[in-house]
Symmetry: C2
Subunit: 767 residues, 2 copies
Amino acid sequence: MTERDVLKHAMQADDLVNAGSCMKGAPISLSWQVGFSDSADGRPKRWVPAEVPGAVQLDWARANNWPCFIVGENWREYRWMEDVFWIYRASAEFEKPGHDRRLVFSSRGIDYRFVIRAFGSALLEQEGMFTPVELDVTGKLEPGAPLEIVVFPAPKSAPSPEDRSQANRSCKPAVSYGWDFHPRLIPLGIWDETGLAVVPSFRFIRAETAYELSEGLDSAEVELRCDLSCRGRGRIKWEILGPDTKPVVSMSEAFDSQTAVLRCRLDRPLLWWPNGQGEPCLYTSRAELEGEDGGVLDRRVMRIGFRRVRLAMYPGAWEYPAPNRFPKSRTPPPITLEINGRRIFAKGSNWVNPDVFPGRVRAQTHYRPLLDLAMRANMNLIRCWGGAPVQKDSFFDLCDEMGLMVWQEFPLACNRYEGTPSYLKVLDQESRSILIRLRHRACLVMWCGGNELFNAWSGMTEQDAALRLLARNCYDLDPGRPFIMTSPLEGMGHGPYVFRNAEGREVFRCFAESACTAYTEFGCGGPASVATLRRIIPPDQIFPPRRGTSWESHHAIGAWAPNSHLLLDVIEDYFGPCRTLEELVARGQLLQAEGLKCLFEEARRQKPRASMALNWCFNEPWPAAANLSIVGWPAEPKPAYAAVAGSLRPVMASARIARFAWKEGDVFSPELWLLNDSPDPVPAGRIEATVRFGSEEIFLLAWDHPAVQPDTNLMGPVARAVLPGRDADVFHLQLRCPGHPERDSEYVLKYSREKRGKESGQRPLNM
Amino acid sequence: MTERDVLKHAMQADDLVNAGSCMKGAPISLSWQVGFSDSADGRPKRWVPAEVPGAVQLDWARANNWPCFIVGENWREYRWMEDVFWIYRASAEFEKPGHDRRLVFSSRGIDYRFVIRAFGSALLEQEGMFTPVELDVTGKLEPGAPLEIVVFPAPKSAPSPEDRSQANRSCKPAVSYGWDFHPRLIPLGIWDETGLAVVPSFRFIRAETAYELSEGLDSAEVELRCDLSCRGRGRIKWEILGPDTKPVVSMSEAFDSQTAVLRCRLDRPLLWWPNGQGEPCLYTSRAELEGEDGGVLDRRVMRIGFRRVRLAMYPGAWEYPAPNRFPKSRTPPPITLEINGRRIFAKGSNWVNPDVFPGRVRAQTHYRPLLDLAMRANMNLIRCWGGAPVQKDSFFDLCDEMGLMVWQEFPLACNRYEGTPSYLKVLDQESRSILIRLRHRACLVMWCGGNELFNAWSGMTEQDAALRLLARNCYDLDPGRPFIMTSPLEGMGHGPYVFRNAEGREVFRCFAESACTAYTEFGCGGPASVATLRRIIPPDQIFPPRRGTSWESHHAIGAWAPNSHLLLDVIEDYFGPCRTLEELVARGQLLQAEGLKCLFEEARRQKPRASMALNWCFNEPWPAAANLSIVGWPAEPKPAYAAVAGSLRPVMASARIARFAWKEGDVFSPELWLLNDSPDPVPAGRIEATVRFGSEEIFLLAWDHPAVQPDTNLMGPVARAVLPGRDADVFHLQLRCPGHPERDSEYVLKYSREKRGKESGQRPLNM
């Protein structure tokens, strides 16, 4: 273990310390139970053991030995749970705190509306799962007497329709009201770290490290901003450790007030860089509070990554609209991420909740495997979609470490969130909590109001109070970080979502005929693995997939378009009837993989006008039978994952191909490209293109390309060949880079011998 | 005089009272002098009498008997004045205020950076002309001893280039640094009401009336929010008078604090409607502060117009982008004004400063004649352009009364305003002052960050700190009023600005080939009247117009395009060489008038997608030799004014005409329309179209149109005729509405006998 690993490890163990809002102290063991009632004041008929953090649904199912909700239609059994009151209770044995100590109950998140009670009286009422609780219960809680948390039914703006629109007056993530990849299943309960502890009376409420980089990025003015639990006299010791864990700043200041600000200047800080652009260097800022006697009362640790982030215009953007054309509109808004003065092509994916129940998501079992996959797929940006809950702190810890930039949305998606006073109040509170919790994160590069709010199905605009409020809060609390109201904005694009649409338009054409500044959602469906399908779909329904079966409730049929996300008709139109489940899965996964290759690589070819390519979506909250995700639940890569990883290599050979299905006699004319989005130049080299039928290779073209500048693509020649007659269902286009096999690329294309009329008289070239 | 007129008159006399920020009391006469120096602490060599409010330049010119700056190149003599320090001084005789009185110096605006001093010590330093001053000088100023105001040189972010870019780090309106209709002449000095007064110690600091209308507009919750100069015990009497001056609310509340809020509910308030849509009903809210002895200490009066304003989507807007097209971008932002639940087609103009020197602008001499013209031209919206200063209170008084809606911009225009800390600080202060001053105005329907900021020549985006700050302040201080960051936004259009561009494209095509949601700037140049030209251009330069003469410095040549704003080449290309000044002026003014007719009427025909038509520009700050203004300085309508007034009639016959210049044998095919943007239906009727050559009328078509719904246009038939051979330079298209001459329209078009090749064989129809 290196020193850095030790430190990382320490940080994870000391997780509570790293959160802005939770305190350190001597934890008191709590044993939780939960039950339900039909009112806030009712008593449960039965108490069952509760896991905290977790979800009331999981507790109840566990106590009753229910089968797993991911199988078949079991999820439907949970429906009633969203409409009752859930009551948690816990009692603890502890010694009453001394005169300089306090008993504090704290929670990072309780989902969604709740009351905390002791001895029958309410200590706190709150709506909102993202605002942490820190409650001084000294004298209000006695040893052995229960603390109670009443969780209200899931918020609904109307009793029907039973869909996401019910979430349009709350900050409850809309996804769990039912989505095209999520069952109707609305988690409730204590979902993040929660506990009781004895802490010093005089302690940190906040110890936040912030910095401002000089324009030249060669120095940083760093501030430690401390709020204390009460006015007092003491001393704050402040230490900053470099990425090598060696101290670079060490200072100490006496104070006599309720706030303290310490300042220092750091010369030539090592910068935090996104994955593929450099090291994601992290410093550690440690603050210790010493009382008048010199004893350490409290400590806070926070990691800092020094980087500057801006949303920049792409080169040439201002040339649009054309100078001499009137009436003239505006130039589209900036969406190119500029990190440390360098424009970066953002490659990545859309992140959804990695489980139906955020309460059981853990760093080691969920975040780490998924984010490891993202990092190893050469991704550098994760869009945390507004339909899902904002992730836990450990998610951001890992993104900080891995150099994964995060685009974070507030919990608004595909709804018209009207500006009622009660909604604006909870949105104000929740957005402030999210901002304060996350604004110190190096990985966090932009805020976004929510998903697709400026489209017909949401019907919101810049004039909506909710979005004006979010803009205000972002500017007030985090003015240095970009904020956009929604995605897509003008110039940006969402979709396509199917390999081939009802009019027969393949994904191969969609981007080639577009000129977006950012492709922030796109993808095509692919089935889960055979093993997963056999696990979630009852044996009598497993093949062929049919409407009205668990294929449908698991999103393979009618989830979005009538044939999505499985696209069975498209698969069979290309390949003929599927004879087995295995064949269906292989073909569906092939289409997803090849579709995503062409989409990602076309987006890259359009750099610098295009500056982002984020497929929909990376992961999924439960095992869908078919989905646009490239990693199945919980962290099972589909073949599309490897395809995407390949298409996101920093330096690679690439081809623009007109379509997927080809016939004997067609003129096959791939356009060759060398893609480079790395910060390094690429020396001159060679790319050889061949067509392969089985083991037979047919040479197409060799391209001796010149050297390429950093972050620059090179457009190459168009190879041309008439496709020969062969007995094959597919053929491969292979691009080989002699001496650089890591840049080789391969595309699988559909082939048939049925000749095309026009070209059938031509002789194949090059053979 | 009606009661309403009496009240209006009273309000104007009591003008200071109506401003949110200035106080009432016993005024003390001040006699002002001004001089200049090369430093803030230097002493002027010479003092001259100063007019307050006014401008130092005007004072100096008056004292030295300079000829008027509007004539010839006289304006160049003022150049040095922007770079020196100007020192005002005034002394007053007064009795020292008693124990319950204070001596207060107040000013609604000092331009731009200044220090107020007494006895050599600074009482206040301020940057910003829009933040009022209220300074308690009790004990700091003695009878007979001078109060001094040192006005610093005009702010410049860089010594060169000497243009508007020098204003990009200040809130000084950019127009005076030189514009295509404004000489380089930067006003400085005390520009708004300013004085010394003895006032009660216990008085209003603020007494603001605010309301919230019910969703159904049938009741209003009204609040009087008072801040007092100190904590005290007293009583506030509150009275609301209806538009008929009869009291509708009368109440009184005791208080014992530094703030007080009184609330009432008004049922079925008479609503404020824009010009042409109903009455602009205004209520009067009077607040009186009574001391413990029952004596009236202070009084504030404020007018309220009850109306709800929203920016709405046009009907059908959400159908764009098309549902099945991917990748999909956003729907363009809303720009249709909805007043009291009714979508309103906004007709109007862009307002610039009505004088180079805002300090000499007065309600009776400037605002009233100009706004009377706007109202009588059927306008309902005035865009107060961000390049100019925010107008004085009396401007908004008149707009409130006349039903002229105001789109108010902050002082940013055509520059990249970078987010330096010092700039953001002054922008924050100035924007808050503007917001607090104007937010109670019924006429004010939207805020806008500034002019053309999202275009190449400005280079700003949504991510700029200045615009994020303005969005924040508008939401914080005035959340109920729409805010847009700039104009144009997506879907909106600026331009055209010439009758015919270098490629020969006439204004007749520009809009017909566009699909904007709002046309917020457009126009074409026209010369000033012959009398004005003879006044401002030296006799030896008067004809023909040439480069390097006062024609050029007065914007007729090279102001924007090389040939604008006079367009001499275009005029002569249509009509041949101009032989006299009179002929040139008549032809140029004809082009402007006919160009604006087609632009305004085409924008109206595109309703409801298009919802605004605002020509550039209404007025001008000095007499330009040629300009896009339709009213010359100070308030002299050009022929284009009458044309625009005609094209903005609520109900009118209109024709879409393909081009301006026609020849014998051309197929002339005007498309007939009935335009109606009134809230009333139009019964069935008839429109007769004729072509007129001199006194000869040739009948084209009679259209018996059906009844038309309120605010609805009717597309009619296309008349078709081959133009006959006549000896004429022009012909007229006449549309007559029998029984409704107020709807008749007439268009003047260019004609020549030179036959077109293709059509020359055809016989004229209809004759």
